[in-house]
């Protein structure tokens, strides 16, 4: 290679080097990533915003907003069937929350404290409901109820929902429980407290925020759930999601916008409480659990 060739190339090399340096700085202040993030936010929120907007439309059109009106909410709340469905969903959510939380918490306690092969196996089995597709859950619950001859009703939905909510509670409560400092408990036992007293006075107060967050989470999940309810529901009353599904199948109706917007608000409200309550109670660990750091 001649010397002249190098001389010609040098400025080019220099320019390339600056460009690379500049690009690196661009990578640290990620314009591309930020743009991507906001486009993503637009596409996830826009559909919900559109449903919410058109739920206030004064005409049934989904293409044009013709003025503000509450008629679709009126139609939703003045329909006896839909009101019953709403109540049914709330009942399912409440029963699942109470029973699921109790069962899930005892299971978490057992899994953290019990040492045996059975306990080890339960540790794995407990995770399976979390990764079972809902349709399998629904179909197997339906087959079970048919085999033992239980007529489908709200109660069957509740049983099926509880089955699939136990593991959520266990995962959340277990994370908190295994982080607990055992010394206080041991001190209580040394000072003559019974095991029940120790649990009531020391363990439960420490677990309370996690239990509460888990309870609200499974309320939201079972209140919202469609697939399992669809398989295990009786004739009437049917839970709200099942009701929504059958009306969507008959075509897009503006009332669905109103029901959808109401469900959206209820979900957000419950989750806001689930996130804020533990914080008000003075603990911050639960948010890590809620956003799934533990689950991953």
């Amino acid at each position: 290679m001649s010397t002249q060739g190098w001389a010609e190339r040098l400025p080019v090399l220099g320019r390339r080097a600056t460009r690379r340096r500049r690009r690196r700085r661009g990578f640290d202040r990620p314009r591309f990533l930020r743009a991507f993030f906001w486009i993503f936010m637009f596409f996830t929120f826009a559909p919900l915003a559109i449903v919410a907007l058109f739920s206030f439309n004064s005409t049934p059109s989904l293409q044009q907003f013709d003025g503000f009106s509450l008629q679709w909410y009126d139609e939703f709340l003045s329909s006896a069937t839909l009101r019953e469905s709403l109540m049914a969903s709330v009942e399912i959510g409440l029963v699942t929350m109470v029973v699921g939380t109790v069962l899930g918490t005892t299971l978490a306690f057992a899994l953290v404290r019990a040492r045996s092969r059975v306990a080890q196996a339960s540790n794995l089995v407990m995770l399976i409901p979390l990764v079972t597709p809902e349709i399998v859950a629904g179909a197997s619950a339906l087959v079970l109820f048919a085999q033992i001859g239980i007529e489908l009703s709200l109660a069957t939905i509740m049983i099926a929902e509880i089955t699939f909510s136990i593991s959520f509670v266990t995962v959340i409560v277990r994370a908190r429980l295994s982080a607990l400092n055992r010394e206080v408990e041991e001190a209580a036992l040394d000072l003559g407290a019974t095991r029940m007293q120790t649990i009531r006075l020391i363990v439960l107060p420490a677990l309370w925020p996690a239990i509460l967050a888990a309870g609200l989470l499974i309320f939201a999940l079972s209140f919202d759930d469609f697939v399992i309810a669809f398989f295990t529901t009786g004739e009437s009353p049917t839970p709200l999601p099942v009701q929504i599904y059958s009306s969507i199948r008959f075509g897009v109706r503006p009332t669905i916008n109103a029901i959808g917007t109401s469900m959206l608000l209820i979900s957000f409200l419950i989750l806001a409480v689930a996130v804020l309550l533990p914080r008000l109670l003075g603990r911050r660990e639960e948010e890590n659990v809620l956003i799934g750091r533990d689950a991953a």
Binding site: M41, F45, L48, L103, T106, P129, T132, S178, M263, G292
Partner: protein
């Protein structure tokens, strides 16, 4: 009573519940899948492995393949969209991190039906987009968005993206950002830094995310039902039809059993990684 004894006593209620109402029903499904229907469409037990042959019948095999194909496409799209989002928040979110991840996940907490319906309202023939196209005189006949594979896959991505973003974020957030700086200081190219520093840290999250998206996507029937049509039906639609419309429970149970067996491989990957994570958390 010893501590261990007491803990085992606590195992009983939920353990029995899951045994009787979760594990036993899966066994019953398998038993029914070998059965037949009597003239009144009641499932009766028997020995009919033919139900499983039917599953792979040329009539139904395309549905199974389609389900797996749609689910894989969903996983890939979720990874391509979810990774930059999780990376952006974990690395550049600063003190807003928790708020940003909460806001990103918020839409995914809304009822899946309602979210799918939102896309139906936007994309259907009388929907918003076609309305706009019509007003702008861009299309005379309207564009058919729904009832296509793209719409179904799009619905699945919109349905399950959060299951990708959360584990990815958790993995990337744990990574020490100074490692990336160190990689650069040691003259690693961007690609080398990614491959030797970021990827090993993200891998657990990527694996968990892929499985968590794939499992529900392969069993989904809402997206194909609402955004698709008979030409885009997935195995979930088939199972739902057999159980709730055609009343052919043995065939529905066989489909369920085949799907569950196929998914067990994926589940064991996930369960192993989850078990490792919980061991690490406890250590």
């Amino acid at each position: 009573m010893s501590e261990n004894r007491f803990a085992h006593l606590m195992l009983l209620p939920a353990g029995l519940w899951l045994l009787l109402l979760f594990l036993a029903p899966l066994g019953i499904v398998f038993a029914v899948s070998l059965g037949a229907t009597d003239p009144l469409y009641q499932a009766v037990y028997g020995w009919n492995p033919g139900n499983f042959v039917d599953v792979f019948d040329p009539l139904f095999a395309p549905v199974l393949l389609r389900s797996v194909g749609f689910a894989l496409a969903t996983v890939v799209l979720c990874l391509l969209i979810g990774y930059p989002i999780a990376y952006y928040i974990a690395r550049f979110g600063g003190r807003w991190k928790t708020l940003l991840i909460a806001v990103v996940v918020l839409p995914f907490l809304v009822n899946y039906l309602v979210r799918t319906y939102a896309w139906v309202a936007i994309l259907s023939d009388e929907g918003l987009v076609n309305g706009i196209l019509d007003t702008l005189k861009l299309s005379e006949t309207g564009v058919q968005f729904v009832n296509t594979p793209y719409a179904v896959i799009g619905g699945l991505v919109y349905g399950y993206l959060a299951f990708m973003i959360l584990p990815l974020y958790a993995a990337l957030d744990r990574m020490d950002p100074s490692l990336i700086e160190a990689g650069k200081d040691l003259y690693g190219s961007r690609w080398q830094t990614f491959w030797h520093v970021t990827w090993p840290a993200a891998f657990q999250g990527v694996a968990a995310g892929c499985v968590l998206v794939f499992l529900p996507a392969v069993g989904d029937f809402i997206s194909a039902q609402l955004l698709g049509g008979p030409g885009t039906y997935m195995v979930g639609n088939l199972i739902q039809q057999q159980f709730l419309e055609a009343q052919n429970w043995p065939f529905g149970a066989a489909l369920t059993a085949v799907m569950m067996a196929f998914l067990l491989i994926w589940m064991s990957i996930y369960l192993r990684s989850a078990a490792r994570a919980s061991r690490e958390a406890r250590a």
